[in-house]
């Protein structure tokens, strides 16, 4: 891996040797073209993409979307347990007691 890196050139500055590989876009860059972000060395464009998605959080519409997603999440769980309860209610008592199979065999 080190030999591979040493033989590479920066994607922005062809005359410079590569010092790191961006984990997001997998391209090689010199030391000046990468920045440390959350323990990772990212190139400028990938860093911009990440910070842009972080900025999106502040959009008021996203609050509404998140509220809707929360509602859907709770609703999905409720539907699952509600129909599980209904299925249990529909089953005969002999099944719950485990006597269904004994009666059949006798």
């Amino acid at each position: 891996m080190n030999h591979d890196l040493a033989s590479r050139r920066c994607a922005n500055h062809w005359q410079r040797e590569a010092a790191a590989r961006c984990p997001a876009c997998a391209r090689y860059y010199c030391r000046e073209c990468v920045t440390e972000h959350e323990d990772r060395l990212l190139c400028a464009s990938c860093l911009r993409k990440q910070t842009y998605s972080e900025k999106e959080h502040s959009r008021p519409i996203l609050v509404l979307v998140r509220a809707f997603q929360l509602f859907v999440g709770i609703l999905l769980l409720w539907i699952f347990f509600y129909y599980l309860g209904q299925a249990l209610l529909l089953m005969p008592d002999e099944f719950h007691e485990g006597t269904l199979w004994q009666e059949k065999s006798s």
Partner: protein
Amino acid sequence: MKKMDQTRGALDLLEEAVHLLRRAPLKLLLQYYLGSFPFVLGSLYFWADMSRGPFAHRHVTEAALGVSFLYIWMKCWQSVFCSNLYSHLMELEEQSFSFPRILRLVATHTILQPYCVFVLPISFLIVLPFGWTFAFFQNLLLIGNGNDLNLKETIRTSWRLASIWPAQNHRLLAILGIFTFVVFVNIGVLMLMVPQLLKTLLAIETIFTLSGFHVLNTTFLSVLVAITYLCVDPLTGAVYTLRCFYGKSIESGADLVAELKGLAKAS
């Protein structure tokens, strides 16, 4: 990546997970059970009530909502458990959960974990995608730990970590499946034998000896499943935390940092 898969087999990872759980502070297991016990007790009550309660049909709506909230409660605490286990693995201090972080954690698991109850049974029936979906929902516990509310990134990272080393993942599932079955049988035998032994040796009658044959009773079976889940699931959580740790280490070198910290501590 291939080399990593070969060097760290499923059994090695399981062994490491057992050691990790044994070395972890008791507080972490308490955090896990603080989340899981209420859900297990709540769902057992729900099961018993729905299967025998004469007026259960009147409150099935409210009861289902209660179990749903307990499910989210459990997933949030499991996420705290996995995050702290990860910190323990990295030789870091226990993670602090501020109020905004707790809100983000609850939101992440309320939005994403409900799909688990639908997707996992379907993928189990289809068989092939089960390994990936199971790993994905396990990874969500660690990745969706409330550090941010970037759901896209959380899903992407969880899926990426679920997709690496598929052979190891499937071997792990097979071993964990067999282990779960063995635990299930052991607990079942224990629950059947202890009352009989008490009656034979000490002449103590219990509800089990008085009720006769109850192996096919659904409440007995659901209690058995619940106890098995409580015994096996912390190990499953530890195994997938380790998988995430090694998966992340490919990019961050976190395993080397943890190893160096361990060496520095020892010297």
